[in-house]
Symmetry: C2
C-alpha cells in the first residue's frame, strides 16, 4: 500500500465521520451555513483554475452570491415546511425570494463591478463568464444538500403525502437520513471503485482524463451504491424500489460529476484542484461527485416520492 | 439628420408597434414562446462574440436550456394563477418545476457533452463557462417579461391582494399593461436620451465604452421614463408613487444593461453584436436595456405591490 493510499485512508477515517455527524445532528439552517462555506471554498478553487487560463472571476461578489443561493435554498425549504404546517411563520415563508432573484441581483452587481472596474476591458467577457459558470456548475447543484436535509414528513397534512405510502407513515428526520444516504452512496461507491479498480480493473474508461478509472471500477461503484440503498431501505423502512433507483441515479450522476471536474482540471492543466486536505487534493476534488449526486437524489425524491395534492 | 439616424427611425416605426401589439394581444404562453425565440437569437449573438475570443459555447444544448427557462417561467406564472383561482388545473401548477431543476439538467447535459465531445480538452473550461454565462447574463433576467405579462388580479382571493389598494380594485390585463409600460420606459427613454444627448450632451459618461453616451442623455432617459410612468399611472388608475419608482428603477437598470452589453462587445472587439435589424445592430443590441429593466420592474412589483396573505 503506497503512502498516498495510507494518507487517503487516514484522512477519510477522520473526515467522513465528522461530515456525517454534522449532517445528522445539525438543524437545516446549520447544514445550509456549513454547505455555503464548503461551496465558497470549492468556488475559490474553481476560480484558481480559471486564473491559470486568464479568466479572472469577480471572486468576492460571486462568493456572496453563493451564500445568497444557500440562504435562498434554506428559505425555500422553510417555506415548504411552514406552508404545510400552517405555522405562524407562514408569512416569512411567502416572501418572494427565488433563485431567479438571487441570480438577477448577481448579474446586476457584476455589471456594475465590470463597468466600474479598472481591469482591462478585454477581460470583462471572460471574468463575467467564469463567475457565472462557478454558480451554475458548482453552487446551484451542490445547494441541493439543503433541500435534501429539509425533507420532513412530520405533521404531514393533506398538502403533503408520500407516493405509495400509507398516510399514517411518518418519519421525523427523514431529511437527515436522505442526506446521510447520499453521502454514503458517494463515499462507499468511490472507495469500493478505488479498490475494485486496483484489483480487477482492466478496461480504461477515460485514459485522457482520469487514467486510473476503469469500467470495472465504475460498475463496482454502482453495485456498492445499490448495496447501501438496500441497507438504508431496511433501516429507514422505506420502499426498496425508490431507494435503489435513487442510489443508481446518484451513483451515475456522481461519477459523471467526478469526471467533469477532472475535465476542468485537465482543461486548466493541473492534476488536483487544491491541496486543502492531505492526500485528497482540494475541496472541489472531495465534493465533485456530491455536486452531481445530491441534486439527482433530491429531484428524484421531489418528483417521484413526494406527492402534492 | 444622417442616413443612419433615418434608418434607425424608420425601423423603429415598423418594429416597435409590432412588438407592442404582440405584448398586448398575445396570451402569456405566446409571450413566453416569442420571448424564447428572441432570447435564443440574442444568445447566439452572445456566443458569436465568445467565438471571437475562442470561447466556443455548447450552442444547441444551451439554446434548449433557454427554451426550458422560458417554459419554466410560464409554468411558474401559471402555478401562481391557478393556485389563486383554485382551478382544476391546480395539480399541473404544483408540478415541482423550478429554475434550479432546469439549470441542474443543463449542467448535467453539458457535462455529458463535454466528456463525449471530440473537442480539445483545453476548451472545456471556456466552453462550459460561456454557455453558463449566456443563461445567467441574458436568458434568466430577460425571462422576467413572462412573469410581468402574467400578472393578473382578476379573481383576486384572500391569497392575493395589492398592497395599499382596495380589495375591490381589480384589473384584468394588468400584466400586459405592465409589460407595455416596461417596453415604453425603455424605448422612450432610449430615444429621448439619443436626441437629448445630441442636442445638449456635454459630459461624456463612458468614453472608453460607448463614446456617444453623456450624463445629460442619461438624465433625459430617466426623466422620460418618469413621464411615461405619470401617463401610465393615470391610464391604469394605478398609484403614481409605485409607477414612478418602477420607472426610475427600470430606466437605471436598463441603462446599466445597455452599457454592460457595450462592454461585452468591446471586450470581444466588435461594435455591434449582430446585423439583424438595419441601423439597430443585432437582437442583443435591441434588447440589452430590456434584459435588465424587465426584472427590475418585475421584482419591484412582486416585492412591494403584490401582497400575499
Amino acid at each position: 500500500m503506497s503512502s498516498s493510499t495510507q494518507l487517503r485512508i487516514l484522512t477519510a477515517v477522520i473526515l467522513m465521520p465528522a461530515v456525517a455527524a454534522a449532517a445528522w445532528w445539525s438543524p437545516t439552517w446549520l447544514v445550509a451555513g456549513l454547505g455555503a462555506i464548503v461551496a465558497v471554498v470549492a468556488l475559490r478553487e474553481f476560480f484558481a483554475l480559471g486564473d491559470r487560463l486568464g479568466f479572472r472571476a469577480y471572486r468576492f461578489w460571486t462568493c456572496l452570491a453563493a451564500v445568497g443561493i444557500f440562504a435562498q435554498q434554506w428559505h425555500a425549504a422553510q417555506a415548504a415546511i411552514v406552508a404545510r404546517l400552517r405555522d405562524p411563520l407562514y408569512l416569512l415563508g411567502t416572501l418572494p425570494v427565488s433563485l431567479e432573484m438571487v441570480l438577477v441581483l448577481f448579474v446586476t452587481g457584476a455589471a456594475i463591478i465590470a463597468l466600474g472596474s479598472r481591469r482591462a476591458l478585454a477581460e470583462i467577457f471572460s471574468s463575467v463568464s467564469v463567475s457565472a459558470a462557478g454558480l451554475v456548475v458548482i453552487v446551484i447543484p451542490f445547494s441541493a444538500v439543503v433541500r435534501l436535509h429539509s425533507v420532513d414528513v412530520t405533521g404531514a397534512g393533506p398538502s403533503f403525502t408520500l407516493n405509495g405510502l400509507s398516510r399514517a407513515w411518518s418519519a421525523p428526520g427523514l431529511g437527515r437520513q436522505l442526506l446521510l444516504f447520499t453521502l454514503l452512496i458517494v463515499w462507499v461507491g468511490d472507495s469500493v471503485a478505488y479498490f475494485a479498480g486496483h484489483a480487477f480493473g482492466r478496461t480504461k474508461m477515460t485514459p485522457h482524463l482520469s487514467p486510473n478509472k476503469t469500467w470495472e471500477g465504475a460498475g463496482a461503484n454502482l453495485l456498492a451504491a445499490l448495496l447501501v440503498a438496500a441497507v438504508f431501505a431496511h433501516w429507514m423502512k422505506f420502499p426498496q424500489a425508490h431507494m435503489l433507483k435513487m442510489a443508481a441515479l446518484g451513483s451515475i450522476a456522481g461519477q459523471v460529476g467526478d469526471l467533469f471536474e477532472s475535465a476542468f482540471k485537465r482543461s486548466a492543466g493541473v492534476k488536483d484542484s487544491g491541496t486543502l486536505i492531505p492526500g485528497h487534493g482540494g475541496m472541489l476534488d472531495r465534493i465533485d461527485a456530491l455536486i452531481f449526486a445530491a441534486p439527482a437524489v433530491w429531484y428524484y425524491f421531489e418528483w417521484f416520492v413526494m406527492k402534492r395534492v
